[in-house]
């Protein structure tokens, strides 16, 4: 796995192809949109999705925690698919999650799906969390030159890269020097194309998509529809 360095504001962060962001200076790992217990939320509505999404997501996260050994773990919102998601955790999954958080300082940034802090789990909850110059929030702020550099989730970006075999779609980071939009990490989280206005309008001044690959990220400039418009750099 080769994480790619990126400068956000004056800070150097690493984008990992597994879909997490590592901030070495702060010993911080950030992950967005886990949507734990999404399957059981669907089951409650009568659609019996396989009840293995939570353990799958946690197992992938546990690997990354072992690799980076962070001090802090920032959940960037929508960690649970709905407000009582945490209450529906099976005893096994709950134990796995507690195990995973052991010795860490968990930061729960609240999302639209999980507007209240998860019950019975360690950590602090914030609507928005600030670390040094960087703001961690679930829903990206509207574009503004005055805003602090931010890391946000919520939109589940994915992008389609044109290759000679036609388009290949992957979840992706979308980034410019002022903002990183995180891919959704959950096992059952789909994606929204970066060309959708909801994402495109956040990167009017340009940006790049970093598509998640097996071993590394694949970087493409955000293009205007149909034309290879290069991102404008900086200010």
């Amino acid at each position: 796995m080769n994480a790619a360095p990126l400068h956000l504001g004056a800070e150097r962060v690493m984008l990992d192809p597994a879909g997490v962001l590592h901030w070495p200076a702060q010993k911080l790992l950030c992950v967005a949109d886990l949507h734990l217990e999404k399957a059981s939320a669907f089951a409650r509505a009568g659609y019996f999705l396989p009840p293995y999404d939570t353990r799958e997501t946690l197992a992938r996260l546990a690997l990354l925690i072992r690799r980076y050994g962070p001090k802090r773990l920032v959940f960037l919102g929508d960690s649970f698919h709905d407000a009582d998601g945490a209450a529906r955790l099976s005893p096994t999954d709950r134990a796995a999650l507690r195990q995973l958080l052991q010795g860490l300082e968990p930061i729960w940034v609240l999302g639209n799906h999980d507007p209240a802090p998860p019950c019975d789990l360690p950590g602090e909850a914030f609507v928005e969390w600030r670390q040094g110059p960087i703001s961690f929030r679930h829903i990206p702020s509207p574009f503004s030159r005055q805003a602090p550099p931010e890391i946000a989730g919520h939109l589940h970006p994915k992008a389609t890269a044109p290759t000679r075999a036609g388009g290949i779609s992957r979840p992706c980071f979308v980034a410019n020097p002022r903002r990183v939009l995180m891919p959704a990490f959950g096992a059952f989280t789909g994606g929204l194309c970066v060309t959708d206005p909801a994402i495109a309008r956040l990167f009017l001044q340009g940006g790049r998509a970093f598509l998640l690959g097996e071993e590394r990220l694949y970087s493409f400039p955000l293009a205007g529809r149909g034309h290879g418009a290069a991102p404008q750099q900086g200010a």
Partner: protein
């Protein structure tokens, strides 16, 4: 021989008609308490034969209540039959009420029908399922005397057919006396259809009635003037000749194989249409009102031609069609004869048809099809076993109807032919799936849809379950479609969502017979305006092409191999084949010819397997897997109906290894894991079985709704519970009908020791069509990442590294930002307070 009583005898006589032998035979069978399968070509008075027993019975002994159920695969057909039945009923003043019930029937009429059923109800498999899921279904069907299943050859073997077979099994319980009458076009496998129709899955329980054949059809082949295309399937080069033939005939149906082809052919004909002949367009994606208008105009004799897809395949009466033109190869003999039967709806005169092959291989295929038709050889496979996904839907339907005991339902289900071989284990697993998902990890106890009472009967939990069932009913899984609306005007029809995602504002495309310009996407529709432009695109639709049948493939191969049979082929095709025997060799009729050659920096391997496109797609996956193992670096492949072509980074050597029988073993496992076709199967199965919410075409999406991605579910389920019933169903479906593994197995067995490898220095004449074929599949997995890497590198190269977004660029842009920021007065503290809008809270 039986004769007709009055007033029926008089009604026939007044029209100068004689009751046909097969019409009387059906009467005879039903009178004797038998079920009957009537096999007759189009125009044989088949429908009337089905209804005569009902009309006679109700005339003899008028009574209230539902007497006859008529089921057809098409809504339009039900409506058309209703119209045709009204004539004799009105003429003879019979005391019979006929009504239709389809998805289009308004709710108030449906409610009235349930309270006061008509004598004859015309419906579709979906509407029948819905009726049977109602708590009052037992009373509704109790007095049923007759069930007519039209176009049974088009239903048996499909998922809608599975659904119908299960419904029939239930009706046999509710109305044990009801007799079944199946109506079928001429098919290769009447025995299998008899078993399908039988209430106990035994062919012997159904009397087979075969109408004597009408006059043999007369075929003609039309080639374009000048150059005969190497590839392509559109057949546009022949449009001037097609137009001349339309001018010369009274009414023509121009059959094409795909909707895209329909749009292009229609546009091409209108460009030539100097006489402004009324020529219309009919395909499944056009707005329904538009289709009805075309159908009505056709029936009223106001059109000279209609360009149509399979949407017109089935038996609707189109009036006085005197010419059928088939553009593109027919792909199957039975299908060709059914289409040809649309011309000249009278059995005693020959139907006339013109075949218009689009490329060289299709010329040979057309010749083969005409030979087979003349020899009376039909193709077609027996219906495949029923799908477990359809069974899951049925189990829920039956639970909505009334509580059931699994033992009784199992006994009922295996009386339906598609499920005759269903094991109790599979059945029980399906029931468990319906109850709570049936996962090894019993996580959903509290969300169960069904619960068991003390006697072991299963009940639905509440009315919400029934509502959800109705919402997701049906076995046709639509590709997400989106409506196309003219700005300030009406809806033209619909296109697949992904096609829209490839459009940019201002792009033009051909739709509903006109060039339109894409303006914008609003939440419910694509907004277009009348457009111009030289090179409009054409929307294509997934899965719309029929594969070549085995029978026809064998005939094509036999013609190719034997120069003495080339006499019927046009000179250009003969030259092409001669050139092939000079440059390489002709594919043998039993073994396998494989060519390899370098081209454009890659290596190509072309295998002349002739097993049809579906089998070739699967074979391509298996062979490329083997090539990956052998380090040949396969990049992609394309399967046409005739050949499999693969391109790779390195020269394929020892090609016999690639077609060894054991690729069905090791590679099969891997294939099962990664196949995109398997993923598509899973998506359909999961939707039909009720795991995923059904996509409702035209339904508005609420904002940026994130739909559940079937691929993600597939991956997780495969890792955690590979033996789950839905994955078993997916593998079974993939292993039989869909991907033709049996066809591959018999091919591999046949060619062992008979593989001829020609290592050529350049492409051979016979390989050209495959290399210009669209619809390529790319090697998934590792190769996908390699492609991404290549594309990313290309972007970097093309922009001379200026786009490199590694550390260098980040530093550089960072510098810019920093300078800009430092020029402004330090807003840091103020900003923090403005952005932290609520105080941190302690979580626990």
């Amino acid at each position: 021989m039986r004769t007709l009583p009055e007033p029926f005898a008089g009604w026939f006589a007044a029209r100068g008609w004689q009751p046909r032998a097969h019409q009387l035979a059906v009467l005879d069978a039903v009178a004797g308490g038998e079920h009957a399968l009537l096999v007759a070509p189009t125009g044989g008075g088949k429908t009337l034969a089905g209804f005569l027993p009902t009309l006679l019975d109700l005339n003899n002994a008028p009574r209230e209540g539902l007497h006859t159920l008529y089921i057809s695969p098409l809504k339009a057909l039900a409506v058309d039959i209703a119209r045709n039945l009204m004539a004799p009923i009105g003429d003879m003043a019979l005391p019979i009420r006929v009504e239709t019930r389809t998805g289009d029937t308004p709710a108030n009429r449906r409610a009235r029908q349930r309270a006061a059923p008509p004598h004859i109800l015309l419906t579709t498999p979906e509407s029948l399922t819905l009726l049977l899921s109602q708590p009052d279904a037992a009373a509704f069907f109790a007095g049923l005397g007759s069930i007519i299943i039209d176009e049974i050859h088009a239903l048996a073997g499909t998922k809608r057919g599975d659904q119908l077979a299960l419904c029939l099994s239930r009706i046999a319980v509710l109305a044990p006396g009801a007799k079944r009458i199946g109506l079928s076009a001429t098919v290769a496998v009447p025995e299998a259809l008899r078993a399908w129709l039988a209430p106990d899955a035994q062919a012997g329980s159904v009397r087979l009635i075969t109408a004597e054949g009408g006059a043999a059809p007369v075929f003609d082949m039309q080639l374009p003037e000048g150059h005969l295309p190497w590839g392509g399937h559109m057949g546009l080069a022949s449009m001037p000749e097609v137009y001349r033939r339309i001018e010369a005939a009274r009414v023509t149906i121009v059959f094409v194989n795909t909707r895209a082809q329909a749009e292009l052919s229609f546009a091409a004909l209108w460009r030539l249409n100097e006489a402004s002949l009324p020529i219309a367009l009919h395909h499944g994606s056009l707005e329904i009102d538009q289709r009805r208008k075309v159908e009505a105009a056709m029936a009223a004799g106001k059109l000279r031609a209609v360009v149509a897809t399979a949407s017109l395949d089935l038996g609707i009466d189109w009036g006085d069609v005197d010419q059928v033109i088939q553009i593109g190869a027919p792909k199957g003999v039975a299908r060709l004869l059914q289409r040809v039967g649309r011309a000249n709806h009278r059995m005693d005169e020959p139907s006339r048809a013109v075949l218009v092959p689009a490329n060289r291989f299709e010329v040979i295929e057309c010749v083969a099809a005409v030979e087979a038709a003349a020899a009376g050889e039909l193709d077609g496979d027996p219906p495949r076993p029923g799908g477990l996904d359809v069974l899951a839907q049925h189990v829920l339907a039956m639970a909505c109807h009334a509580p059931f005991h699994p033992d009784e339902l199992y006994a009922e289900v295996i009386r339906a032919a598609p499920y005759a071989a269903l094991t109790r284990r599979d059945f029980d697993d399906v029931v468990r799936f319906v109850e709570d998902g049936g996962y090894a990890l019993a996580a959903y106890e509290r969300f169960r849809r069904l619960f068991r009472d003390s006697e072991g009967r299963l009940h639905i939990r509440d009315a919400r379950v029934a509502r959800q069932f109705r919402l997701n009913l049906g076995t046709i899984v639509e590709t997400p479609m989106i409506k196309v609306r003219m700005r300030g005007g009406g809806t033209l029809g619909e296109v697949e969502e992904w096609f829209v995602s490839t459009l940019a504002a201002g792009d033009c495309f051909l739709f509903a017979g006109q060039v339109v310009r894409y303006e914008r996407l609003d939440p419910a529709a694509v907004i277009v305006s009348p457009g111009g432009g030289d090179d409009p695109r054409v929307p294509v639709y997934a899965g719309s092409r029929m594969p070549l049948t085995t029978w026809l493939a064998a005939r094509v191969r036999a013609i190719l191999h034997d120069p003495s049979r080339w006499a019927h082929l046009p000179a250009q095709v003969q030259e092409w084949l001669k050139l092939q025997s000079l440059r390489s060799e002709l594919p043998p009729s039993d073994g396998l010819l494989i060519e390899t050659f370098p081209r454009g920096g890659r290596w190509f391997l072309v295998a002349y397997t002739f097993e049809g496109r579906l089998a070739h797609q699967t074979l391509g996956l298996l062979v490329t897997k083997r090539m990956e193992r052998l380090g040949m670096g396969p990049l992609g492949y394309v399967g046409t109906d005739y050949v499999l072509a693969i391109w790779s980074a390195f020269e394929p050597t020892g090609v016999e290894r690639l077609f060894a029988e054991d690729i069905l073993g090791d590679e099969m496992e891997e294939w099962l894991a990664e196949s995109s076709m398997l993923r598509r199967s899973f998506r359909n199965i999961a939707t039909i079985a009720g795991l995923l919410e059904k996509h409702h075409p035209g339904a508005e999406k609420s904002g940026r709704q994130m739909t559940m991605n079937a691929d993600l579910i597939y991956d997780v389920l495969r890792r955690h519970e590979p033996d789950h019933i839905l994955l078993r169903a997916t593998r079974e479906e993939a292993a039989r009908g869909l991907t033709d593994v049996a066809r591959i197995a018999s091919l591999l067995a046949r060619i062992q020791g008979r593989i001829t490898h020609r290592a050529l220095s350049r492409v051979s004449p016979l390989a050209v069509p495959a290399l210009i074929e669209e619809g390529r599949e790319w090697v998934a997995g590792g190769a996908e990442d390699a492609l991404l890497a290549e594309a990313a590198a290309l972007v970097a190269e093309a922009t001379d590294g200026a786009e490199e977004f590694g550390e260098t660029l980040a530093d550089m842009t960072d510098g810019i930002i920093t300078r800009g920021a430092s020029a402004r007065p330090k807003p840091r503290e103020a900003r923090r307070s403005r952005f932290i809008r609520s105080a941190p809270r302690r979580a626990s």
